[in-house]
């Protein structure tokens, strides 16, 4: 078939032919076409099946408001369901499929639904599939979903890339029709930073659809010339193919730029779409207006379209939906379509005008005071029946019917911050109200100014007012300035099946039914009938629905009111919202300085926050992680092991008040800590719960190095800044994070000193006397590299932490391994670290869970009562210090091989297993290769007094019961002899 519906003219490139496929058949098109215009050119009128009744549907509109022409675009992983054919820019090789039909578009088995339409009216599903409830999820919903008119997903990952970006401007102009172009010229020539965004791929809006003149130019030529001038201005940024989807607080707008949707294949590295956040001083909405249909019997047949859409297809795309067209209108604009089509050689069957006094001075027949009362034709329109004012009926043969019920200003963005539009009696339409988003104003048809002259004028004026321009605005071109003449007319009385919302299959009858059944507020009407709830968000249907509701309720339309418009203006792919934040890039990955070395060693990594940490280091022959972890624990406790602890937060605290500052943020005292010493610090929240723990090393009188847990590094820093700036603003204390600056390694085990003596330069004495437990200091290593040494231990062994500038971390780790060969040194990961700290009874993340106090953790005595510190007052609250509060204990199964489960609860040996008899819970559980037993830590009511008691550990979810004994949490070296050795 060769584009039998092509006309002359238009803004398409006839020198180039593009081929595309629809439902497997090949067609041709030209650059400048949309999929919709190309289908019409090829006389394809039937494009889809309706949502509920599976009625044949064609195109209704020519823009993003399209409810019917919904297709699946592309194939394979790039398949995209529910795209509007009217917005798909043609490219060579485009492939699209109709959706919601089986087995084929022409013969759709579920069209049988249409025969049962009496049963499928509004609320049908709610009423019918209510009971039994269990059937809903398993049977009804899948069935309805299969039958309902949605496309299907590819179920494959989207292979395309999406970006997010940020732009700033003085004036964002939304829409590049006559008002938007004139506003951009005005602001652009005045030197303002302007962004002009339009969802279309050709800027100009309705100017590209009309045959009228601006001065002595074609409207579309004037638009092209304006665009050319604007693109030459360095302060104006044109953004075609960009939909402004929402107006957000303080002048921020969201916009989706379709950078790659019009390309057959994306160039390497280029995004398919970009989600822009546009920061504006001012914004001007020039979004135009949308023509609204009239509801009448069988008004959804393919070939029945908006009159203005027929005009655009003819003038811009050089396509007619049929060679014989009728028009049904209540206003003068419908006649423009007839005149333009007539001029292009299309036969006008007649213009049916509901107005008795409709103008008749045309070259075609006008039926005054007449109404279209029915339509006929299988899979497409073949004739319409017209009721004449004298009661007679006329039949008009036509392949297409253009319908015009007047125009609705596109007020959507004006309502995104709950502004309400107001009713304009003269236009019989809602126009923007006074309560606009801050910085937004409205011009042109979006503001109810419907003539071309009016649009140009209000665009220029809008720019001048928004920016307080003092320069003279450019002269306006001469343009038509016709008033709106119409007779409000919403639907033809007496019709049985007249569609209001074609995408969701809502009829006039459904709206009336909603009223009868008591769903009378617009919000109820919407939800009961689903009016306006499809992907088109009711752009062509909402106002008609309101008008019908108003009539049956005996109210005026403004009394009925509108529903709220919310972003996005048109549907946005989820992938666009995700942008680059997917898969591995979902969050930044933080690597430790020994990461590459650990990878070489075959380490298994675990995510800790954004960090990747080595979890264990398997050796050849080790087939289970426990083998690796048990070995790492045994070898560390027997000789020496090294663990990368760079991830611990490190905060440099300096200033003459540094010690007093730490006194306030830690529950225990720091003022008297000697230079060269380190102290464990317990940090509380103001409510008395433990926030974090760590160490503070006093490097100088006015200089501490504080560590935090890995997980809380950011929040502790934030908290310390709060204390510094908001609570004690005159303290002389300065904070800065140094977490990343130093590679820090724990060297633990009885041979750790011997190993470090080979690393640390000989002038530094590491003997127990010179550098005792909890000592700290600056040293040099490997012949002069500056380093910090701390004698602190998490494992309970003789241990140190040594820190060097991060760039040398990799080299230091390698050096520790080679120098440690004589001691059979091993690296150990977070798993062995965890085992050793449980063996030693150190509380960690599992115990510092936000609900535990110092008393719970056995650290109650650390909370100093002699000084002001965060959390000390509220930690004394009655309920937190009752005798039977939870206390940290060790837990050992009576049978060592029986596994303990973290999260399991502890019950007395006898009595019921329920919440009322709960005695506490297990926080951490590991296997100790030193004790050859499973062990755990837990919080038990009055636990400190119950050591030796037998209990039941239960996990009803996993059907687990283990007999356990409460023991001291310090399983290994309870006296601390090792770490002081």
């Amino acid at each position: 078939m060769t584009q039998s519906n092509r006309l002359d003219g238009g803004q398409i490139d006839r020198n180039t032919s593009l081929s595309f496929r629809f439902d497997g058949r090949s067609y041709t098109a030209h650059p400048g076409d949309t999929l919709a215009s190309a289908l019409l050119a090829n006389d394809v009128r039937l494009i889809g099946r309706s949502f509920k009744y599976h009625r044949p549907r064609g195109l209704l509109t020519v823009g993003s408001e399209e409810p019917n022409g919904i297709v699946e675009l592309r194939t394979g992983a790039r398949k995209e369901p529910n795209t509007r054919a009217t917005t798909i820019e043609m490219f060579d090789g485009l492939e699209a499929h109709s959706q919601n039909r089986w087995p084929s578009l022409k013969f759709d088995a579920l069209a049988v639904n249409d025969l049962f339409s009496n049963f499928l009216s509004a609320g049908f599903y709610y009423k019918t599939f209510m009971w039994p409830a269990a059937f809903w999820e398993k049977l009804y919903e899948p069935m309805i979903r299969r039958a309902a008119g949605l496309g299907s997903l590819s179920m494959e990952a989207d292979p395309d890339e999406y970006d997010k970006g940020f732009r700033h401007c003085d004036l964002l102009i939304i829409g590049a029709g006559p008002a938007g172009l004139m506003a951009a010229l005005t602001a652009g020539r005045a030197g303002a930073d302007v962004i002009l965004a339009d969802e279309d791929f050709t800027l100009g809006g309705r100017l590209n659809s009309e045959t009228m003149a601006l001065d002595d130019q074609n409207a579309s030529d004037w638009a092209a010339q304006a665009v050319a001038e604007l693109s030459s201005l360095p302060n104006v940024r044109l953004m075609p193919r960009t939909t402004v989807i929402g107006a957000f607080d303080h002048g921020i707008y969201g916009a989706v730029e379709r950078t790659g949707d019009h390309l057959a294949t994306l160039p390497e590295g280029k995004p398919r779409q970009i989600l822009w956040r546009i920061y504006t001083q001012k914004a001007l909405l020039c979004a135009g207006a949308t023509e609204r249909p009239i509801a009448f019997e069988n008004n959804d047949r393919p070939g029945i379209m908006m009159a203005s859409a027929l005009r655009t297809y003819a003038n811009r795309f050089a396509v007619t939906a049929s060679q014989r067209v009728a028009i049904f209108t209540n206003n003068d604009d419908g006649h423009r379509t007839a005149a333009d089509l007539h001029a292009k050689g299309v036969k006008i069957a007649a213009v049916v005008d509901v107005r008795e006094d409709a103008p008749t001075n045309y070259d075609y027949e006008v039926l005054q005071g007449a109404q279209v009362v029915n339509t006929k034709g299988r899979h497409g329109l073949s004739f319409v029946e017209v009721a004449m004012p004298d009661g007679s009926t006329r039949t008009l043969d036509c392949g297409a019917l253009g319908v015009s019920g007047g125009w609705n200003p596109n007020v959507h963005l004006t309502c995104h911050q709950r502004g309400r539009p107001v009713w304009d009696e003269a236009l019989a339409a809602f126009v923007p109200g006074a309560d606009l988003p801050v910085g937004l104003s409205v011009a042109g048809a979006a503001n109810g100014v419907m003539s071309t002259h009016g649009a140009l004028h209000s665009g220029a004026e809008g720019a001048v007012k928004a920016l307080d321009l003092t320069s003279t605005p450019p002269d306006l071109p001469e343009a038509e300035d016709a008033p709106v003449t119409q007779k409000p007319f919403w639907y033809v009385q007496g019709c049985k099946r007249a569609w209001v919302d074609q995408q969701n299959d809502v009829t006039v009858k459904d709206v009336k039914l909603s009223y009868q059944e008591g769903f009378r507020s617009v919000e109820h009407l919407k939800r009961y009938t689903t009016l306006g709830m499809a992907t088109d968000q009711g752009k062509t249907s909402n106002i008609t629905g309101l008008a019908i509701m108003a009539e049956v309720a005996g109210k005026s339309i403004p009394e009925v009111g509108t529903t709220i418009f919310r972003p996005p203006y048109t549907p946005v792919p989820i992938a666009t919202f995700a942008g680059r934040m997917k898969g591995q890039e979902f969050h930044p990955t933080r690597l430790t300085p020994s990461h590459y070395w650990a990878k070489e060693r075959g380490a298994v990594f675990v995510e800790v926050g954004n960090w990747l940490r080595a979890q264990w280091f398997p050796l050849p022959g080790e087939t289970h992680w426990r083998q690796s972890v048990d070995r790492e624990v045994r070898q560390t406790r027997a000789s020496v092991g090294v663990c990368d602890c760079t991830t611990l937060g490190k905060i440099d605290v300096q200033g003459t008040d540094a010690a007093e500052f730490l006194n306030r943020v830690y529950a225990n005292a720091f003022a008297k800590l000697a230079v060269g010493k380190t102290r464990y610090g317990l940090m509380l929240r103001e409510d008395g719960m433990v926030m974090d723990d760590g160490t503070a090393a006093r490097m100088a009188e006015d200089h501490f190095v504080v560590t935090t847990t890995t997980a809380n590094a950011v929040s502790v820093y934030r908290h310390m800044e709060f204390v510094r700036q908001c609570l004690f603003p005159d303290m002389d204390v300065q904070l800065i994070s140094t977490t990343e600056a130093w590679a820090q390694y724990a060297v633990a085990g009885p041979n750790s000193r011997k190993l470090l003596q080979k690393i640390v330069d000989p002038e530094f004495d590491l003997s127990n006397e010179a550098f005792p437990f909890m000592a700290c200091g600056n040293v040099t290593v490997c012949g002069g590299l500056r380093a910090r040494l701390f004698r602190i231990s998490f494992s309970g062994e003789l241990a140190y932490e040594i820190a060097v500038p991060s760039r040398y971390g990799d080299a230091l780790m390698r050096r520790l391994m080679t120098e440690g060969e004589e001691f059979d040194v091993i690296p150990y990961g977070t798993e062995a670290l965890g085992v050793m700290r449980v063996e030693k009874g150190h509380a960690a993340g599992n115990e510092l869970n936000g609900t535990t106090t110092a008393l719970n953790l056995g650290l109650g005595k650390m909370v100093s009562k002699k000084k002001d510190s965060i959390g000390s007052v509220l930690s004394e609250r009655e309920a937190l210090v009752e005798p039977d509060v939870l206390r940290l204990v060790g837990i050992k199964p009576l049978q060592p091989e029986e596994k303990i489960t973290a999260g399991g609860h502890l019950m007395n040996t006898d009595g019921p297993v329920d919440a009322a008899h709960d005695q506490g819970y297990v926080t951490s559980a590991v296997y100790s290769p030193i004790l050859n037993s499973n062990i755990g830590l837990g919080l038990v009511k009055n636990g400190a007094e119950r050591l030796g008691e037998k209990m039941r550990l239960v996990s009803p979810l996993t059907d687990l019961t283990v007999d356990v004994e409460l023991v001291s949490a310090h399983f290994v070296d309870p006296e601390g002899e090792r770490l002081r050795a």
Partner: protein, 186 residues
């Protein structure tokens, strides 16, 4: 002299260089950094001493100044001093000596990874990365911002030459973000 061999933040022995569409992104490890935070009540003394140290006016809010040794604004009464690593590996010690009791000085050299962007049309790359109002970014600007959830400093040296500092541990993610944006925008 110690015998430990440094690696770059991206993990290689040599800095990484990527050129896409006329813009080059270079990893710059040969930079030493030290933070300077004025002690309470010694803000003006700090400002004067720092100016002497960098031989230029101490940078105002959102600016950088200096030449071989330079500084950029990092917060209220807080700056970051930059100098060539090869000659100033002990920068923190040098700055501390210069500042005396006027300020707290902390070594920051390996807290950061630096990528330099050279070429035309760098704003087209940056607008995909950060929320800064690039109309206000010009020679001498130094602004902190978030790039793909990574806290960074963006310094404009000249219109064709920018430096981005990000936390060293996130070097790989930051590099990926920058190079991806270069491919997308250029």
């Amino acid at each position: 002299m110690h015998d430990l061999v440094a690696i770059t933040a991206l993990g290689g022995p040599e800095p990484r260089v990527d050129t896409i569409g006329g813009v080059t992104c270079t990893e710059v490890p040969h930079i030493a950094l030290a933070s300077v935070a004025a002690r309470m009540g010694k803000e003006s003394k700090s400002t004067k001493t720092l100016a002497k140290l960098i031989d230029a006016p101490t940078p105002e809010i959102g600016r950088w100044t200096g030449a071989t040794v330079s500084a950029f604004w990092a917060g209220s009464d807080q700056w970051m001093v930059e100098a060539p690593f090869d000659t100033h590996e002990d920068l923190a010690a040098q700055v501390e000596a210069a500042m005396g009791d006027a300020a707290s000085v902390t070594e920051q050299t390996d807290g950061w990874v630096r990528f330099d962007l050279n070429g035309d049309n760098i704003p087209a790359v940056l607008e995909l990365l950060c929320q800064l109002d690039l109309r206000k970014v010009s020679e001498g600007s130094a602004a902190r911002c978030s790039i793909h959830h990574i806290g960074c400093f963006v310094l404009c040296r000249t219109a064709e030459n920018y430096s981005i500092y990000g936390p060293r541990s996130s070097a790989g993610s930051l590099h990926h973000a920058i190079v991806t944006a270069m491919r997308s925008a250029l």
